[in-house]
Symmetry: C2
Subunit: 270 residues, 2 copies
């Protein structure tokens, strides 16, 4: 009943930590390994082939660590690489787009749903297709926000600049009568208070990462992979391809849990 | 991509209609068949062996109809029969107890969680074990509410009697400092306004049935069973072993959708 193997999480940078935060709450028993490809972040404007290659590099690194499940905690990578990776691995692989879709369909009352994400995610139309295929009557309004990820990765997500950039970027979503907005990038929940303020309290924000943990929790149960009846809290190990200092600053501020001391690794030299 | 086979739902009576209501919202494309064993309701005080036998009778009836997934939309039946039925069927089988557990762990901030259910569900300690196995630090306070199901089945769930019974029954949960209460019986959401009023607004009520539909939605995606890109809304067919008149009254009042005209069937004469 006790499966102590870790769950693996990958992201282009620190964004997937928003998924980790929810995992620490909902799955306190589980051991976790996180890998952020900070050195090559952002992924949003990169060609799909390159994102797929980078995602495979991260995946192979974590599979060698003996993970029992892989979470692609990055919308850009999920949009282009989930299908291929989940077909080729023999452990369950979870992306963030379908959980975000389900969360939005569940929350929306007027079936007018907004989606914000990176250029890559919005261009892929993944959310639009996922929502429309499930609900013929849903309206989806999408907007790429390429300036948001750099704000987070540079640890400026609480700054006055962030407020200005978010307000200016979200103008096209005003007066569109959406009642639900999907944060279609795992970096965006760090900007959540600002986004909520700009959109107004009547708009429900869907954190695709948080929804993803519900799916992870469900799959742990379904495939009987959970670390049940643990006698101590799970551990989190972090790796980054970039600056460990910047990563740890953001991680410790965001997670407010046991101190994170990430390890530096290099990808792409296999 | 279009799998029009129905999803099957079974319950001891009309309680599973609360799960259906959520399914109509979250999965508007899906065709559904519902079977309520109203003639033998409530299940709550029956011996486990008998509940297992009745649940198998309902299951066999729906399997013959060609369902692609089975939802045991009854906590009492889930507690004693889910494991056995899911092992023996070759379609995915979903119960209501783990989804309710996940919803509560996700929602609770002080890790003090209340559970109300039938005698059978509470006696099984299913919620208690599921929560504690996932979170060592959680406190679970359980209470059997055997008078609630008859209030709903007799269509008295909005009456002054219901208010009195609910208030008296929930006294043992007062001052227990719970911030989350699992409605561990699919009948209870019909009493939700009364329960919320008695418990106070600070207590978050978890509708195990609504959480279950998130799991159903996820499994439809994971196993690629969804009725995607449908061109019309799914249909709901209802069967009851009891009075179709009473069933239809409750169903139409509760679902507020296309008119339900249930069909009467008899179980147990196989």
């Amino acid at each position: 009943m006790e499966n102590t193997e870790p769950i693996g999480f990958i992201d282009s940078g620190v964004g997937g930590l928003t998924v980790i935060k929810e995992a620490m709450k909902q799955l306190p028993n589980e051991n976790m390994i996180y890998l952020g490809d900070t050195a090559r972040c952002p992924y949003g404007a990169r060609p799909a082939e390159q994102v797929i290659e980078y995602t495979w590099q991260m995946t192979r690194f974590l599979v060698k660590k003996g993970i029992k499940m892989l979470v692609i905690a990055c919308n850009t990578a999920t949009a282009v690489a989930l299908e291929e990776i989940s077909q080729q691995l023999d452990i369950p692989v979870v992306g963030v787009i379908l959980p975000g879709t389900r969360g939005a369909v569940k929350a929306s009352k007027n079936q007018r749903i907004g989606v914000i994400g990176t250029l890559g995610t919005i261009k892929s139309q993944s959310y639009e297709q996922a929502i429309r295929s499930r609900d013929l009557n849903a309206h989806v309004i999408s907007l790429a926000c390429p300036k948001f990820v750099p704000l987070v990765e540079s640890n400026q997500y609480q700054s006055p600049i962030a407020k200005k950039v978010v307000a200016e970027t979200l103008v096209p979503l005003q007066n569109k009568k959406i009642d639900t907005l999907i944060l279609g990038c795992t970096h965006y929940p760090l900007l959540r208070p600002i986004i909520q303020n700009v959109m107004g309290r009547q708009v429900k924000l869907i954190d695709s990462g948080a929804e993803t943990i519900t799916e992870v929790s469900m799959l742990l149960d379904y495939f009987k992979l959970g670390n049940l009846y643990a006698t101590k809290t799970g551990e989190l190990t972090c790796y980054t391809t970039g600056s460990t200092k910047l990563f740890d600053e953001i991680a410790n501020e965001w997670l407010q849990g046991p101190t994170i001391a990430s390890k530096h690794i290099q990808l792409g030299d296999e």
